[in-house]
Subunit: 132 residues, 2 copies
């Protein structure tokens, strides 16, 4: 009996919170694939994925704050605030879990954009990514 | 007995596909709220939401291609390719359903970004938003 997708994704984020990015590999499948469709970058395997995270420039330890977790069968989405104390970003992470490990992760990093003047009359200030 | 979240979200996208953005209002709650955290824009109510969609500049009818739908209780995520035949974009839409209608929609529009040179050695070409 394999761990359900929700528990696997919870474990992934607990390991990410440790900032020991090599340890994260224990919840990744041997043939893990990480995709960022915004740049068309694909990274295969837990070693390369750990290296990418470990070498990413940081002002301090990365902190991850869960906003949402949706689980539907073997797939899950998390919406997460990410900061190193200086940089702030939001990640939308789409997980596919297979046999208790993460087989694939497709991740989006939306960036701030300016209010569109043509809809200014329809709009009021709402929650922003910058609120953290 | 209200329609389950999955059916409500399916109906939302079927109505969007009609490009009759005022008709979309039938699946929205009276106090519907639409948020775009990237700009901090909030739009309240089905009328203003319809106006925003109807007035958005377009080269032709909008087509919406579902990539994923995840449903977890009263919340759902869709990952959707959007095009008017010229402009192409991808939307990540987080729905909260209440009593058979959409109470809130939080939407992200991630934009393309360049491959990061510092991870070029770890990366291979993968699926990109531009693939459609």
């Amino acid at each position: 009996m394999h761990e359900p997708a929700r528990a696997v994704v919870e474990r992934y984020w607990a390991l990410m919170a440790s900032n020991d990015f090599h340890a994260v590999g224990e919840v990744l499948a041997d043939d893990f694939v990480f995709d960022m469709p915004q740049s068309g970058e694909r990274i295969r395997g837990r070693e390369r994925y750990a290296t990418m995270n470990a070498q990413y420039p940081a002002h301090g330890p990365w902190r991850f704050t869960r906003r949402r977790l949706l689980v539907d069968g073997d797939t899950a989405l998390t919406e997460t605030d990410v900061t190193d104390g200086v940089v702030r970003a939001r990640a939308l992470s789409l997980f596919t879990v297979r046999e208790g490990r993460i087989a694939s992760l497709v991740e989006y990093w939306p960036e701030p954009f300016a209010l569109a003047p043509e809809r200014a009359a329809l709009v009021e200030p709402g929650p922003s990514m910058d609120d953290g």
